[in-house]
């Protein structure tokens, strides 16, 4: 089962921040592949959602970028800034609390993925 876009939309920043917290630096394609791999294809981040989010995180100063030239094209690597590291912890903690609350609210029992 692939989760709906609506369900994922509010969690995308958290996912990206957490991935960047766990990996020193990543580029866009790498992020999409890592998410697919970790979730066994259940979560597939679209390019249409990922890149605007990365742009927004950069504008907010939560990530920093460095570029690498591969022939004529540029690869942008993202890594967390100091503020980004703090925000990543806050967002993960907020989401964990939210999941816990939803579990209670919907009377769900946690299952393995």
């Amino acid at each position: 089962m692939v989760y709906s876009t609506e369900l994922l939309k509010g969690t995308l920043k958290t996912i990206v921040l957490k991935l960047l917290a766990d990996n020193k630096k990543m580029y866009g394609y790498e992020i999409t592949q890592r998410v697919k791999e970790l979730t066994q294809d259940k979560i597939q981040i679209t390019e249409g959602a990922l890149y605007p989010t990365l742009h927004s995180l950069e504008a907010d100063g939560l990530v920093t970028t460095e570029t690498e030239y591969i022939g004529k094209r540029v690869r942008k690597y993202y890594s967390l800034s100091v503020a980004g590291k703090t925000r990543a912890k806050e967002k993960v903690s907020e989401l964990a609390s939210f999941v816990q609350t939803m579990t209670l609210l919907l009377d769900l029992k946690p299952k393995a993925i």
């Binding site: 999409t32 390019e47 890149y51 605007p52 927004s56 570029t67 004529k72 094209r73 942008k76």
Partner: protein, 176 residues
């Protein structure tokens, strides 16, 4: 992996630009991602044009520009907002620029040019009209330029109306 040639990369860059992707960082990201996908598919066989034509629609729902719209929208959510929508901005801008002209002609029409008795009134009006031409042209250019072609707005217009960030904010959805 079959690396793309410089010409093929140039083709993708030009296509992204033609589809309204103006943010350089976003364009770099998309270019890299598209190149990876195209190179992977070329490895399995096929020609560049055909593979590219199948890859690019996977990036959007209606048109590619929606990625840039989304990026600009997310960016606009932070910090202070301009409280006017694009529509209201132009209503006020046109009113501000055209009001002195309309006021003068109304005076002339209804009261038979009473300003003629004021010293230097005609000189002042003449200068006001002359100085009004550039702002008026600028507002007209901005008004007629679609949001997606923002970079085509003349540099002078951006200076006059408050630099590029203001124009970017104006291209966002209405806040009021």
């Amino acid at each position: 992996m079959t690396p793309l040639t410089d010409e093929q990369i140039d083709h993708i860059v030009a296509d992204l630009y033609a589809h309204g992707i103006r943010l350089e960082g976003l364009r770099d990201n998309l270019l890299d991602h598209i190149c990876i996908l195209v190179e992977e598919k070329l490895e399995a066989g096929g020609d560049f044009e055909r593979v590219y034509a199948t890859v690019i629609p996977t990036f959007y729902r209606r048109e590619l520009y929606e990625l840039e719209e989304e990026a600009l929208f997310l960016e606009s959510l932070r910090g202070p907002h301009l409280v006017l929508s694009r529509g209201w901005f132009f209503v006020l801008a046109f009113a501000l620029v055209l009001a002195p002209w309309l006021a003068y002609f109304a005076q002339w029409f209804f009261f038979e040019r009473p300003v003629i008795n004021i010293p230097y009134a005609l000189d002042a009006i003449g200068w006001a009209v002359a100085l009004d031409v550039y702002p008026l042209l600028t507002v007209i250019i901005l008004f007629l330029t679609p949001n997606r072609f923002d970079p085509l707005i003349p540099w002078g217009s951006k200076i006059l109306l408050g630099l590029k960030p203001l124009i970017r904010v104006l291209s966002q959805p209405a806040i009021i």
